[in-house]
């Protein structure tokens, strides 16, 4: 029996964001936008969805006079990501 893939993570941009955050302690919005080649508007929406689900924490601050958004994966996010990868492996290597 295959496990269901978490619908929140099974989306290209949200999965890309979570993959970046799982390999970093924290990452700036600009860094994520550059690495995922996404638009600021779309990325903001997806980050908000991940934040609402408790998968990431979002910190707003200032860099000089410029607003800055920093994202960090939460323990719940790490757990969800691990389950997602585990489910993926089962799809690719069915017993």
């Amino acid at each position: 029996m295959f496990k269901d893939l978490d619908p929140l993570l099974h989306s290209q941009l949200r999965l890309a964001v979570m993959s970046l955050l799982i390999s970093t302690e924290e990452a700036d919005f600009v860094f994520i936008r550059e690495k995922t080649a996404s638009t600021a508007g779309n990325l903001s929406v997806q980050i908000e969805k991940l934040h609402e689900a408790g998968y990431i924490s979002v910190k707003k601050s200032f860099k000089g006079k410029m607003p800055r958004t920093t994202c960090r994966i939460s323990p719940a996010g790490i757990s969800a990501f691990e389950k997602y990868v585990e489910a993926l492996s089962e799809y690719l290597q069915p017993k």
Partner: protein, 225 residues
Amino acid sequence: MENSLNEKESLDLISQMINTAKNNLQKGTAKIILLWGYLVAGISLATWVLLETLPFETRYHAFYLWFLMVAGYPFHFMLVKKIEREKLVRTYIEGLMNRVWIGFTISILMVVFGMLIDSLIVNTFAEAVKPGHEFIRWFHWLLLVPFMLCLYGFALFVSGKAYEFKPLTYGGIFCFAACFVLLFSLHKTGVYGIQQFTLFISAVVGFVIPGHLLNRKEKNDVQGS
């Protein structure tokens, strides 16, 4: 980037994103390596020249040049502050490497201060030193440069492996080799000069050359500005 994915594409995306971030070096890291590299190389070269040229009785004054190392700290903290202000991402490797270099600095300072205190104590009780055994006042200083090179080797080797940047790894191996060679030359005439010159070469190979190569690499693929 909001398309649905099949399972294979999902795994490929995860792998691609993780690889993107894992070896990230902050822009400016090379400048810190160059700062300390040039400082150690300059001081050790100047010390070597003075050791070779000053009269025998006063040549130990050459070692006072090492107090100039303190001058590196304000510039170091300025560079760190600039990196912190401009950084866009902090990786786990980077956090770990920061701690390795902090440990490296504490180790060096502990040994230098320990030797200084020991020398002061020995000199204070100089009368207690038996005639013919005066060497114990200064003998331990002979081990300082090999010890420093061993620590340089350790920190450079670990950094090179962590960031997958071979010039740092090779620099670390060179420092290990230099340490090993110096430990076999403790009894040689002019050992202090040999040590300072070896330190100069090691600083160039371990810090200056990798620092410049890293500076070039940063311009191509490092995040942070």
